[in-house]
Amino acid sequence: MLLLLASSCAIRTTTADHYVGPMFYRRGTPCRDGADVTEVVADGWGGRGRSRVGRVARIIERVAATPRDAAASCPPGASGDGDRRRWHFSALYVRFDRREPPRFVHRSVIGTQAVAGAEASALSVGAVSATILLPPPDAYCSFHYDASDPTGMRFTVWNVRGENPASEEEILKEVNP
């Protein structure tokens, strides 16, 4: 029973991620030159004891990001990269809201995972690392990601359908910082 209580699980909707159980997390803010980034590391134990399915351990790291809209203004109170590198701990429950589904997801799993949903449908035992990037339609999209500093990623989108299209110079400046 204690082992089950030490496990964590996640429920994701289009605009929110719900995590139940112990986990570490950190989050980057959507302003400055970054994206809205959430990094979660969870570990735990599953199973029902030695006599039945055995004990299994896992470590899951998941980075999810929505791009910064270059035409949108920075919301009041956004602090740029204030504490994006600082880890936080949640023992029971935490929720991450986002304005749209993530367009970038990186998952690394050591151990076992059982995932079902729009993001993944998989059962694996071992080490799996996967990344997916979904550029938006009718837009310019600049993306810079370094797994050694996930919350520092730059992910910017310029929609050409907007009222104020970005200049080529602005876009190329972001592409080649």
Binding site: E119, V125, A130, P135, P137, C141, Y145
Partner: protein, 148 residues
Amino acid sequence: MRGWQHAAVGVALCCALAGCAKTLAFTTATKFALDVSQQADKNVDVSLGYDRAELAVIPAPDNTDAGDHADTYSVLGTFFVHYDNPFVTSDPLRLNQFFATGAAARTAAQSPRFRTYFGHSAGVIEDNRANPTPTFTEDLNKLKELKK
């Protein structure tokens, strides 16, 4: 592993992650595991051992060919991936990408500056293929020279 197997693994991964939605997708994957993934078409992909894939998926409408005035899906992009063992190295994954999709791609294709940028990027890629020693930093410096 042969090319078609890589592609199959990538498509399976993409379907598993994205649900085979009709959207542009870029994926990378490294596995050392027993992995069972279900695709959107209900086929089950099973892999055992080491596997790795990088893949770009561009959606295409059913039973429609590209013509003079109808493209499948316009995309211009540069795609840089540095991949190392994600579980032991301090530099496991770096992605640097720039895409223009749909209407943006069609606009960029007519822009002299974007044409120069993408043309030069293609040249850098070709140089790397012929001489794989240049580092990514050197490539970035080349692109910065282009800006000047």
